[in-house]
């Protein structure tokens, strides 16, 4: 996935001279995850810039650059280190189009490596998506596959609106049969995808939890469950129709994500599914989420992260007899 992301930026920069990559350590080092590897060398330090270490300053400067017609792609080093930039994000990035009645859109892509499962110490593993999805004016997308990493990042950079691009850290090293010579068609922002068809229930998920859900779906076969898995890919906009269509068919749904459950995206999704599928539902919409705790230390994270067993236990409850 890391390579696909790099390739997406490289192709975007080659095609469009207004695309500028900036952030901490993105130049010479290629980013702490090496996602911007080689960009400074190929396009020069003016197009791939090591900025001073200041997240609000980075995003604030990106606002000004976008006001002048550039398309900044900002790297936030880690989920929890993006927080200093929240004021810029919420008060300016998300609102500029609205404040100016459409006169000044801000085409900024904010790449945020997020989520846990990599044994990182504290402040390196937050699932911060709930903060972003609660902010009108932002698009929020998160790829779970190598192809989507490429396609969604291209679509984000091409978008005339700001996009928070959440990169599931633990999938950076996932490999897949992806040939960079023939990148897949851009899926576009706001389109969910049925990753696995099934008939007994729908697992609704995104980002780092997709592989876990697919694994759970395989395991569930032994229990006699044929699970459908929907990958949201985009949290804002939320592709309600794809989800609703699936749940109406299967009659049962579980939302799975790493972020805490209270006020997490799953709460919103469950509410919407309930509103639109009420007469099709055989059981309440359930959720499997991270606990409502600060991200735990590495040795304990396996107890926090939704795993196959917890998903299967929840799926079992969908019979709703007891």
């Amino acid at each position: 996935m890391a390579q696909a992301l790099t390739r997406a930026m490289r192709d975007a920069m080659a095609e469009d001279p207004t695309v500028h990559v900036m952030g901490e350590d993105v130049g010479t080092l290629g980013g702490v995850f090496r996602i911007t590897d080689g960009l400074a060398k190929e396009f020069g330090e003016e197009r791939c810039t090591d900025t001073p270490l200041a997240e609000a300053g980075i995003l604030g400067a990106a606002v000004g650059m976008a006001m002048y017609g550039l398309r900044p792609v900002v790297e936030m080093q880690f989920d929890a280190f993006a927080y200093p930039a929240f004021e810029q994000l919420i008060s300016h990035v998300a609102k500029m189009r609205n404040r100016t009645r459409g006169a000044m859109p801000l085409p900024i892509t904010i790449r945020v490596p997020y989520g846990g499962g990599i044994g990182g110490v504290e402040h390196h593993c937050d699932s911060s998506e709930a903060y972003y999805v609660a902010t009108p004016g932002l698009h929020v997308v998160t790829p779970a596959t190598v192809e989507d990493a490429y396609g969604l990042l291209r679509a984000s950079i091409a978008s005339d609106d700001p996009v928070v691009f959440l990169e599931p850290k633990r999938l950076y090293w996932s490999k897949a049969d992806w040939r960079p010579e023939a990148p897949a068609a851009v899926p576009g922002i706001g389109k969910a995808l049925v990753r696995r068809t099934g008939t007994s229930a729908t697992l609704i998920t995104y980002g780092p939890s997709l592989p876990v859900c697919l694994e759970a779906a395989e395991a569930a076969r032994e229990e006699g469950w044929d699970l459908e898995v929907v990958d949201l890919r985009s949290l804002v906009p939320f592709d309600e129709d794809t989800v609703v269509e699936s749940v109406r068919r299967t009659g049962r749904a579980v939302v799975v994500h790493e972020a805490g459950g209270f006020g997490g995206p799953g709460a919103e999704i469950a509410a919407r599914v309930t509103e639109r599928c009420f007469h099709h539902l055989e059981a309440p919409v359930l959720r499997v989420t991270g606990f409502d705790i600060p991200y735990p230390p590495p040795m304990l994270e396996k107890h926090h992260l939704p795993g196959v067993d917890r998903i299967l236990d929840t799926v079992a409850r969908l019979q709703w007899e007891n």
Binding site: H20, E46, T51, P52, A54, A56, G57, L59, G60, A61, A62, V63, G64, M65, A66, M67, Y68, G69, L70, P72, P84, E87, Q88, S91, H92, K95, M96, R97, N98, R99, T100, R101, G102, A103, M104, P105, P136, G137, H139, S159, D160, D161, G190, V236, P237, F238, E240, D241
Partner: protein, 378 residues
């Protein structure tokens, strides 16, 4: 026994010297003169450009009238709120006058007068404060960023824009305005640091008007002056009398010239005073005494210039009257513009959130439309 003779003493036991280190710049040229720079009433006034000063005078008088009119409009309920710049007109106007057409102004919520002096229609400039919409103009058309309410957050935008313009080879300078309280914000620091590291063509203008709402400067900073802060970033700091428009114009022009020539950013602290309350909602008597306000009255920016120009024969009674008439006409036009009820379209609520409306917003827009139609029928 001397130290050298002590057992264990001697060169071989000394720790190695650290690698040579020296500061990258000599700080002295960056340091502000601690006395605010003045022109009016000094010998420097001998070299005033009469034409420029007549223009400044006309703008000052208009600015004063604009402030009075806007404040009156709050009393009539035509403006939701107005942060007055009475006493600070010289800063506002000089900021607008030193910029070329292609340059950008980054105002704070207080700086509508600077936007008006740059040529923006006063009604458009007051859209935010009137509550009609957030920004009443196209920022690109006027090269005026939207008025920024979150303090100091507009400063990094100015840096980014100036940097982008330079990358594109365009001759553009950004001038960003902030209050004394705003200099305590993290965004102030980050913007100055970025600007200096990038050598961006930016001028930072701090209007030190004595207070951040109720908090005096002494509780805001322990720095000798706000202009001193520049040194830590590696840019020059200048201290100037913010009520002296000739001094303001000169210092700002010089900083703009420097930025345009590739010399990087400058931090300018204008020492001025907010004569009125923070906004019409504030009670200034709670935190300051009349004596202080009276002392500043004697240093009024309009009177300072009027006295100087009259003494030098640059303006006379007739010219003053003509300027006042012009200001009166501006105020009448502003009154008229503000007295017309703004036309607001409720469906605008959903129009400019995203380039393409989401299903979610379409649904909510439909709900509102139904509500409006029901109201119409009732």
């Amino acid at each position: 026994m001397t130290v050298q003779e002590l057992p264990g003493a001697g060169a071989s036991h000394r720790s190695p010297q650290p690698p040579a280190w020296s500061p990258r710049t000599d700080a002295a040229p960056l340091l502000p003169d601690p006395e605010p720079y003045r022109v009016l009433g000094t010998e420097a006034a001998d070299r005033l450009d009469p034409e420029l000063m007549r223009r400044c005078y006309a703008e000052l008088v208009r600015g004063r009238r604009y402030n009075a009119q806007a404040t009156a409009l709050t009393k009539q309920g035509r403006l939701a709120v107005y942060p007055s710049t009475v006493g600070q007109e010289a800063c506002e106007i000089a900021a607008a006058l030193v910029l070329e057409d292609q340059d950008w102004l980054f105002p704070s919520y207080r700086d509508t007068l600077a936007a008006v002096a740059r040529g923006l229609d006063p009604v458009q400039a007051l859209t935010l404060l009137r509550g009609d919409w957030h920004t009443g103009y196209d920022p690109r058309e006027h090269r005026i960023a939207p008025l920024s309410t979150p303090l100091a957050t507009q400063l990094p935008h100015a840096v980014g824009l100036a940097h982008a313009a330079r990358l594109r080879g365009d001759d553009v300078v950004a001038l960003a305005m902030v209050g004394d309280g705003g200099t305590s914000e993290g965004d102030f620091h980050e913007a100055l640091n970025f600007a200096a590291v990038w050598q961006a063509p930016v001028v930072f203008l701090v209007q030190n008007n004595g207070f951040a709402i109720s908090v005096p400067l002494a509780k805001q900073t322990a720095a000798p002056t706000l202009a001193h802060k520049a040194v830590g970033y590696g840019m020059p700091g200048r201290l100037v009398d913010g009520n002296d428009i000739a001094a303001m114009h000169e210092v700002l022009s010089e900083a703009v010239r420097r930025a345009r020539a590739g010399g990087g950013p400058t931090l300018i602290e204008a020492v001025t005073y907010r004569m009125e309350a923070h906004t019409n909602a504030d009670d200034a008597t709670r935190y300051r005494g009349d004596a202080e306000v009276e002392a500043w009255k004697a240093h009024d920016p309009v009177e300072l210039l009027e006295r100087e120009l009259t003494a030098r024969g640059i303006i006379d009674e007739a010219a003053i009257q003509a300027v006042r008439d012009d200001a009166e006409a501006m105020a009448a036009a502003l009154r008229e513009g503000m007295n017309a009820d703004p036309v607001v379209d409720p469906m605008d609520l959903f129009a400019h959130v995203y380039a393409e409306q989401t299903d979610r917003l379409r649904e909510q827009a439909a709900m509102l439309r139904e509500e409006l139609e029901a109201e119409d029928q009732a």
